[in-house]
Symmetry: C2
Subunit: 349 residues, 2 copies
């Protein structure tokens, strides 16, 4: 049985331990400085504070971040459980502590846009940071695919993809986590998997606009789906182009499409999109959602920045990304919703 | 202004007239022998019986099928408004009446599987039938894309694709129907468009299985989305392969994905999938849905037949279509639900 040390015990960082616990592995949960209450609550009650569910029975140990050295000692796998917002903290604080040669699995999904508009994935960013510290043999892997934390904790059948450079490591990771309710595919196309699943955050916001537009038109919480489907189709179209721009393989698209589907039902991204869809300005909508952190905002902003640079460089045309650019206008340009439906139509002769 | 004669006045055959009415065109609605009550009701009340909505104000005329000759005289466009179940009737009864050189737009979505497992689209089937009658110049076109009839009638923003062989005809058709709530793309990839949108009927049933499984597990009408998303991703994966097998272009995939999204929320297909997902046998589920006609059953059966023939011929591998083959086992093989989750996982090295 393996020892898995998880750093970052929010909802997803914790929920992914469920299948590993059911496979009999030892889990050491290390809270970040922001997870203090989660660790305290877990120690007192055996329950996860924000997942609002008891941890499964197993060999579980809880640590505050001051105890991280003890928690990492002898671990077979280090799991990075922070969200996009914790990435810099993880790079600055945790990467220096990881011994060279260690195996890491990260749930953090996202892309970084470089100056020239090219995009690289978080595992690549981690790898670069580690290499800069002289640690060239940390084996970084990541989890992609449609999975919301509370549904995983409810044992709803879930399919994910683990990506990394080393097939042997990936197969070992699968052996730790694969369960009758958690089905793991493997891919060495890190860029493609991470790009496909990161983009869905941006586009789920775009699809949710139709929900708010429908509420507004009907004067009540009533959803129409033709408009959501039109935005879904356009999202898949733009994601296909972006996947190619990122250097990912087209076979990752179904992963992104499935992840997009679940994210529209996933909570926070849907909420901001719905509010913007009713005609609110971004600042008003964020006021309503006070205090909520939204990866969709970070990702849509970063992706739009990258695409604008590529447009400036003549690599892509603005006409290919009408939805992404509209989302960016809403989030960063002070505009109110005005979906460019006609710009989605094509002549394919 | 054009005269549009619609043959087949069910929900979709009628709803598609909304944008044409708003563009000022004359509509002649001709009921099939099954639409008698719809035509009577429209004449008496100005309302569509099954759409349960009033027709928009316009130059509208209603005909029973005995009056079809009068209704077709001088029409600029003939619209085929029957469902898949009316296809044979349309081929046998209506095609012989269509003058050579006429323009036709069909809302009937589907594919026919030939003996060798290859699949051709309905417009191609119509074309062949017309050619066999010596009419080689009827210009057959079809509508694809995510559009449910009642949402179109509620003016929810909708995106569709008209496909056909002739770009000029397609642009003219767009000029008749395009509206601020009905956005029309055009494509000469008839096989691709029709394949993408037909397949979603089969796969929407597959995704709905997760809804029923969730109800069963929770003991109440509670949906989980991780499992739906896993089935959504697998559907997109199999649809990508089928699109290619049909000779369609990959750029039609977003159309199929959008259509799949809306169909999961579309009523009848969702109902049968949900019932099968709770563990019912097909016969029991159909008993519950007594009298309902289901295109998803026809399409999944036909597609599975075609795929089985291609497997026998060694053209494709059964392992590439685990979801379609499971749907077929449920519908035609007397099996109860047992989603082959592990068969969906892949090693992509």
């Amino acid at each position: 049985m393996a020892i898995i040390t998880i750093i970052g015990c929010g909802m997803m960082g914790s929920a992914i331990s469920w299948p590993a616990i059911h496979n009999g592995h030892t889990i050491r949960y290390v809270g970040t400085p922001l997870d203090r209450a989660i660790i305290d609550h877990a120690r007192e009650t055996g329950e996860h504070l924000t997942l609002k569910r008891p941890f499964p029975k197993g060999d579980l140990h809880f640590y505050q971040f001051e105890e991280v050295t003890e928690a990492m000692a002898g671990a077979d796998l280090l799991l990075c459980g922070v969200s996009s917002f914790g990435l810099d903290w993880f790079l600055d604080t945790v990467i220096p502590m990881i011994p060279d040669g260690a195996k890491v699995l990260s749930i953090t999904k996202g892309m970084i846009a470089l100056e020239d508009g090219s995009m690289i994935s978080y595992p690549e960013v981690m790898e670069e940071r580690a290499a800069a510290l002289g640690k060239k043999n940390i084996d970084f892997n990541a989890v992609g695919g449609p999975c919301t934390s509370y549904e995983l904790a409810d044992l709803d059948p879930t399919e994910v993809t683990f990506c990394g450079r080393n097939p042997e490591t990936l197969r070992w990771l699968k052996s730790l986590f694969n369960q009758e309710y958690y089905h793991v595919s493997l891919s060495t196309d890190v860029r493609g998997v991470e790009c496909a699943v990161a983009l869905k955050n941006a586009y789920a916001l775009g699809i949710s606009l139709a929900i708010g537009m429908s509420y507004k038109r009907e004067g009540r919480e009533f959803e129409h789906y033709n408009s959501q489907a039109a935005l879904f189709g356009q999202s898949v179209r733009e994601m296909t182009l972006l996947l190619d721009l990122c250097g990912g393989k087209p076979q990752q698209l179904p992963l992104g499409a499935g992840d997009l589907y679940v994210t529209v039902y996933g909570g926070r991204t849907r909420k901001i999109g719905t509010l913007l869809g009713t005609g609110m300005r971004f600042e008003e909508a964020m006021e309503v959602l006070k205090g909520v952190t939204l990866e969709s905002i970070v990702i849509s902003t970063r992706t739009a920045q990258a695409v604008r640079r590529l447009i400036d460089r003549g690599v892509v045309r603005a006409e290919s990304f009408p939805l992404l650019l509209h989302i960016d206008e809403l989030v960063n340009g002070g505009k109110t919703v005005n979906v460019p439906w006609a710009a989605f139509t094509r002549e394919d002769f």
